[in-house]
C-alpha cells in the first residue's frame, strides 16, 4: 500500500515537473523573441516623454545619445544604475533628464523621468510606470490629467524646503481629493531628485559618455 502511494506521488511530481519545464521553455522562447521589440518600444516611449519635458530649444545635441550612468542613490530612490540624458546648447550643459523613483506610492513604486535645467529649474516631470489605483491615483499620468505640470519651473530656489508638500500637509502643491498618498510620494521624490541634482550636477555633466555597448540600459 505504502509503496504504491509513494509511487503515485512520485508519478504526480514527475508530471508536474514535466509541465513546469515545458512552460519555462515556452516562456523563455517568447521572452527571447519579444525582448528586442519590447526594449525598442520602451526606448521610443521614453524618447516621446523626453521631448515633452525638455523643450527642443534648450539643447542642440542628440540628447538620447549623450548619456551618463548614475549609480543608485537614496535621493533618486532607485536600486539600479539608471541612465541620464544630457542636453547641451553650443556645447555647454543646458538640461539633464534623469530617472527617479518614488518608492512609497499607494501601489508601490512610481517611476518618474524629470528634466532639470542647468540652473535647477524643472522642465517637466512625467510618470513612466506606476501601479496607482485606476480612476483615483492615476491622474499623475499626463494622458489622464494635467496635474503633473505643477512641477514645471519649480526649483530649490523658488520653493522652500517646507513648501515641498501637498497643500493638505501645509505645502504648496495641489492634489486631488480621494488620492493624497500618490501626489505626496511624487512631491517627495521630485524634491529629492532636485537635491540630488544640486549635489551631483557638475559630476553628471562631466562624466564621459559611456561607449555604445555599456550605454544600453539594463532592465
Amino acid at each position: 500500500m505504502r509503496r504504491t502511494l509513494a509511487k503515485a506521488s512520485f508519478h504526480t511530481a514527475l508530471n508536474l515537473l514535466f509541465f513546469a519545464l515545458i512552460g519555462t521553455a515556452l516562456l523563455a522562447l517568447t521572452y527571447q523573441l519579444t525582448r528586442d521589440t519590447i526594449a525598442r518600444s520602451v526606448e521610443r516611449e521614453k524618447l516621446k516623454l523626453v521631448v515633452q519635458i525638455a523643450p527642443a530649444t534648450a539643447y542642440d545635441n542628440d540628447i538620447m545619445k549623450d548619456t551618463a550612468l548614475l549609480a543608485p542613490d537614496e535621493l533618486l530612490g532607485n536600486d539600479d544604475t539608471t541612465v541620464a540624458y544630457r542636453g547641451r546648447l553650443n556645447n555647454k550643459p543646458s538640461i539633464a533628464v534623469l530617472e527617479a523613483t518614488a518608492p512609497d506610492g499607494y501601489g508601490g513604486r512610481i517611476n518618474l523621468i524629470i528634466a532639470i535645467f542647468r540652473d535647477g529649474r524643472i522642465g517637466g516631470v512625467r510618470v513612466i510606470s506606476h501601479n496607482e489605483t485606476p480612476g483615483l491615483g492615476d491622474y499623475i499620468e499626463i494622458a489622464k490629467n494635467k496635474w503633473v505640470s505643477v512641477f514645471n519651473d519649480t526649483s530649490l530656489d523658488n520653493r522652500r524646503d517646507s513648501d515641498w508638500k501637498v497643500k493638505k500637509d501645509g505645502g504648496l502643491f495641489d492634489y486631488m481629493a480621494g488620492a493624497t498618498v500618490t501626489p505626496r510620494a511624487m512631491v517627495k521624490a521630485v524634491h529629492k531628485a532636485l537635491q540630488y541634482y544640486a549635489l551631483h550636477r557638475d559630476e553628471l555633466f562631466a562624466q564621459a559618455a559611456p561607449s555604445a555597448s555599456s550605454g544600453k540600459e539594463k532592465k
Binding site: H11, N15, F19, G23, Y31, G107, G178
Partner: protein, 232 residues
C-alpha cells in the same frame, strides 16, 4: 462535433451561461477595468485569447495528467499563456499594455479561466474546448464592453476615448464626444459605479429572460435563481 453542439456552446457562452451576468465569475477585472470601451474591449479580447488557448491546451493534455495533479497543471498552463500574451502585448501594442498594466497578469487569477478549464475543457475535445473558450470569452467581452460604454458616457461623456493607444495617433478622430463640455461624474468611473451598472445589466438580462418565458408558458412563469460562483 455537429452544428447543433456548436450552436449550444455559443448560446451558453453568449447568453445562457454568460460569465459576466449569469455565472458572475471573474468580477475583479470586470469591475476594475470597465471604465472605458477601449479598455474593456482590449481586456475582454485578451481574456478571450487566453481562454481559447487554455481551453484547447487543457483538452489536449487531459488524458495524460493524473487526476490529483490536474489543478496545479491547469494553473501552470494558464499562467504560462497569460505571460506569453503579456510579452506579446508589451512588444506589439505597448501603449495599450501600459494602460491595462496590472490587469493583464491578473487574467491568471480570473477564476472564469480556471472554471472553464475544470468544468468544460477537462471533459471535452480540443475543438469543442477552444470553441467554448471563444464563446465564453466573447460573452465576457460583450458584457464588459457594454459596461465600459455606460461608464464612459456617464463618467467622461465620451465613447472610444483612448483608441489612439491601440491604433496610433491617427485614430484620435474616432473618439466620439457624446456630451460636450461634460465635467465628469466620478461615481461612474469608480468601482461603485461598476457594481451599479453591472446590477442593472443583470436585471435587464433577467427581465428579458422572464419576458421570453412568459410568452411561452403564460403569465405565471417565475425566474429560477441562478447559482453564483466564486466571485473573484
Amino acid at each position: 462535433m455537429n452544428s447543433q453542439e456548436m450552436k449550444e456552446i455559443f448560446l451558453n457562452g453568449l447568453w445562457k451561461q454568460n460569465t459576466g451576468v449569469v455565472q458572475l465569475l471573474g468580477l475583479c477585472p470586470l469591475l476594475a477595468i470597465s471604465n472605458t470601451v477601449v479598455n474593456s474591449l482590449s481586456l475582454g479580447l485578451a481574456t478571450t485569447l487566453v481562454m481559447t488557448l487554455s481551453g484547447s491546451g487543457v483538452a489536449a493534455i487531459r488524458e495524460v495528467i493524473p487526476n490529483e495533479a490536474r489543478i496545479p497543471v491547469y494553473v501552470l498552463l494558464i499562467a504560462v499563456l497569460v505571460t506569453i500574451v503579456q510579452f506579446l502585448m508589451n512588444a506589439y501594442v505597448h501603449p495599450l499594455y501600459l494602460v491595462l498594466g496590472i490587469f493583464i497578469p491578473l487574467i491568471v487569477t480570473n477564476c472564469i479561466v480556471l472554471a472553464r478549464a475544470e468544468s468544460f475543457a477537462s471533459k471535452n475535445g480540443i475543438r469543442a474546448s477552444a470553441l467554448d473558450g471563444i464563446a465564453m470569452g466573447l460573452g465576457l467581452t460583450v458584457v464588459i464592453t457594454i459596461l465600459g460604454g455606460i461608464r464612459e458616457i456617464f463618467g467622461h461623456g465620451t465613447l472610444l476615448s483612448g483608441i489612439d493607444l491601440v491604433f496610433g495617433e491617427a485614430a484620435k478622430s474616432l473618439v466620439i464626444t457624446v456630451i460636450p463640455n461634460y465635467h465628469g461624474f466620478l461615481f461612474a468611473v469608480l468601482p461603485p459605479g461598476a457594481f451599479l451598472a453591472l446590477g442593472m445589466l443583470i436585471a435587464a438580462k433577467n427581465w428579458l429572460n422572464l419576458r421570453a418565458e412568459r410568452k411561452l408558458k403564460g403569465s405565471n412563469a417565475t425566474l429560477t435563481p441562478v447559482d453564483g460562483g466564486c466571485a473573484v
